[in-house]
Symmetry: C2
Subunit: 426 residues, 2 copies
């Protein structure tokens, strides 16, 4: 039986030599030895670190925009508590002095958003709107705001984390609908000038991480090279994450679960030292915070592997520049300078992805693609504009998984190594 | 500042004594010391273990049903490989002898399903249907079946795991649509008599686990008491999971992410030694396999915490009795004897869940509830019938999070301990 098995494996290996199989794994012959690719990656990391060490990260105040734009920052629990108490004190004084009860809440509508090219992210401008208690149209929202402030104050005292859903259920009668308490929670973040994580309200976790990273989660030391194939679930509360250490040369940000699994099983991070992270689709706040923290503390380049469709690029942009909905916190949620490694529209022809593995774009896809072409954060990067224009022109899209048409391990054994070797990122 | 903080904490503690707060945390006064609750749990575990040690788990052959029902089992890679080769050899012989090319595929339609009360799960009956190549209506499916067998054979040789999506992309031209390759993959499982995991095709992972469990994932030892708040992502491939060790008294199966997070942050598993597991909603195959493996190897009782709505009970039943879609593998996917701990319809009044935290059931909810009442696996358990009837009668549902109306930590500090103390599971 053992002999039989051995024979079969040998047959398989010898197949690698024949013509037929070279057709199945195109471009494999272009691959240089791993040591050559590793030295390319080392150069990339060195340049990023040199850059981060000499160029201080720009902020709104460097651009003299801090008076016209609004940003929040991470505050510790007692500062949040103090901020709430000061706010309530101010309002009490206003009531006692006869000026009435009102919150001056930052506006978060589309017209109050601004993309700042120097920062490469979306920020919130400084328009506010008054929310008086003595007005029929705002009395409910004023009450909800007060209640949320009170609940957050309790969280500070107890030092525990809850979800938005928990918050909603503490007073269903008042909130009526979770969208109402969620919206006011974002208002309260802006109002207090702190991030939502500082309020100890967290989103549910979706992301996983695996590879050359050690970090602490709520006091436990986690070694992500020893997390098997499943990986470590990214903690919902970034404030309990710390002590990051790594010997990785880059961070590989992966859009989808299936590609993540392939790379985790093949222990890609041992061949090319890296940290592999995915939010399994749409980026959630916890994964965005975790990615940013890795990038800033470890000073590593971030390379993104997303589907070749408008949503792939959109996902990349949310990690990179932020979403309009949470622009007030873009400084903390975004990871600057993410490189678009693949799968890019130009890869489809370059890597000879078979026609039947490409999908026709729908009307909606094409519209989304065209809308993206109008966005400042795309325009800023000529390479992205070129790729996206190609996509809209050819009306073709493809998932990362399309690479499986060349064999299940084509992604980890040929496509990614070759991309790295050719420094083929934008 | 430190003094200020201390004073506040003291205020908070002293609040526990006043009348107002006792109203906020109802039933807290009924709680016995933890040691009393722990001894109740120890009895439960002992009885489960005694039961498992004396009563051998029933199988289809014990019930003399193995000739009329079909079940698959876990096979190692070389057995799967041999099974494929034997099948292809048989077909070749059939072709050579002039009898043609056809697969005899087990039928997986609703009419071929059977709930077996003695086993408390849904199984597949033995009806099969012929899939000949020489028939216009089946030629495509026969070709797809052959192709999937070939791909799985490759996976065996390479010993790697892929997703259903990967499999689809290896031959889009033939499969056309992922539902087609998915369906045939299940056929191939039945045909070969092995589980889908034995084919090395895995579903994407969703579940997380935290608490008193140590296990190995792909050779790495994982200590789930040291996984912070995020927990350990449940591996997609159960065959690389092993060496389970635990000093837990029970497994707490949680439907939702938010409740999981509360319990993980409060390290509930340290107060009442347990393993906490969640699939974050609908149970995926990886979480079902993982739960079963824990139950069988550690011989622990499983207590379920789900929403008080028809879907909560349905989710519980999928863990317990299986889904119709994968009935051929119910023996491996189901966890016998899961207890319904909460949130149960009778809890709403018993724990005085405020009216505004209960939600009216929709027409569809009520229909689903009534349909469930007709299911054999519900009828078998009179307690469940009673609860479900109450739900349908009151037309009220509630999420686990509704308990937050008594305070964020009510779930971990009062509700669950009291449930355990009162042995209030069905």
């Amino acid at each position: 039986m053992a002999d039989k098995k051995k024979r079969r494996r040998l047959d398989l290996d010898s197949e690698d030599e024949n013509e037929d199989n070279r057709k199945i794994l195109p471009f494999k012959k272009h691959l240089k030895p791993d040591s050559a690719i590793l030295s390319i990656l080392q150069d990339l990391t060195d340049s990023i670190q040199a850059n981060l060490n000499t160029n201080k990260t720009l902020t709104l105040s460097d651009l003299s925009l801090s008076s016209t734009c609004r940003e929040v920052s991470d505050l510790d629990l007692s500062s949040v508590q103090d901020a709430i108490e000061r706010l309530i004190l101010r309002i009490t004084q206003s009531i006692l002095s006869g000026s009435g009860f009102a919150f001056d809440v930052p506006a978060r509508s589309n017209t109050n958003q601004l993309y700042v090219p120097e920062l490469d992210r979306i920020v919130l401008k400084d328009k506010t709107s008054l929310r008086p208690y003595s007005n029929v149209s705002t009395v409910r929202k004023t009450t909800i705001t007060t209640r949320i402030l009170q609940l957050v104050h309790q969280l500070c005292l107890k030092n525990i984390h809850v979800t938005k859903r928990d918050l909603f259920y503490t007073d269903v009668k008042l909130f009526q609908d979770q969208t109402q308490s969620d919206a006011v929670l974002d208002d309260v973040s802006c109002l207090l000038g702190c991030t939502r994580s500082s309020l100890n309200v967290v989103a549910s976790e979706k992301g996983v991480v695996v590879g050359r990273l050690i970090f602490s989660d709520n006091g436990d030391m986690i070694d992500c090279t020893k997390m098997g194939m499943g990986g470590k679930a990214i903690p919902p509360n970034i404030d309990r994450v710390g002590d990051m250490q790594s010997d990785a040369l880059f961070i590989l940000l992966v859009e989808k679960d299936a590609a993540y699994m392939r790379l985790a099983e093949d222990r890609f991070y041992n061949r090319f030292p890296c940290i592999i992270v995915t939010a399994k689709g749409q980026p959630d706040v916890a994964t965005r915070l975790f990615l940013r923290k890795m990038k800033m503390e470890l000073k590593l380049p971030v390379l993104a592997l997303v589907d070749s469709d408008p949503y792939g690029l959109k996902i990349l942009s949310v990690y990179g520049c932020g979403s309009k909905n949470m622009s007030y916190d873009s400084g903390n949620l975004t990871t600057p300078d993410i490189k678009w490694l693949g799968v890019r529209p130009s890869d489809l022809d370059k890597y000879k992805i078979p026609e039947q593995c490409r999908l026709p774009m729908t009307e909606q896809d094409i519209k989304t693609g065209k809308d993206l072409l109008e966005e400042d954060f795309v325009k800023k990067n000529p390479g992205w504009v070129e790729e996206l224009s190609l996509m809209v022109k050819t009306k073709q899209k493809a998932e990362i998984q399309a690479l499986s048409s060349f064999g299940f391990q084509y992604l980890s054994e040929v496509y990614l190594p070759l991309k790295l070797q050719q420094q083929d990122w934008l």
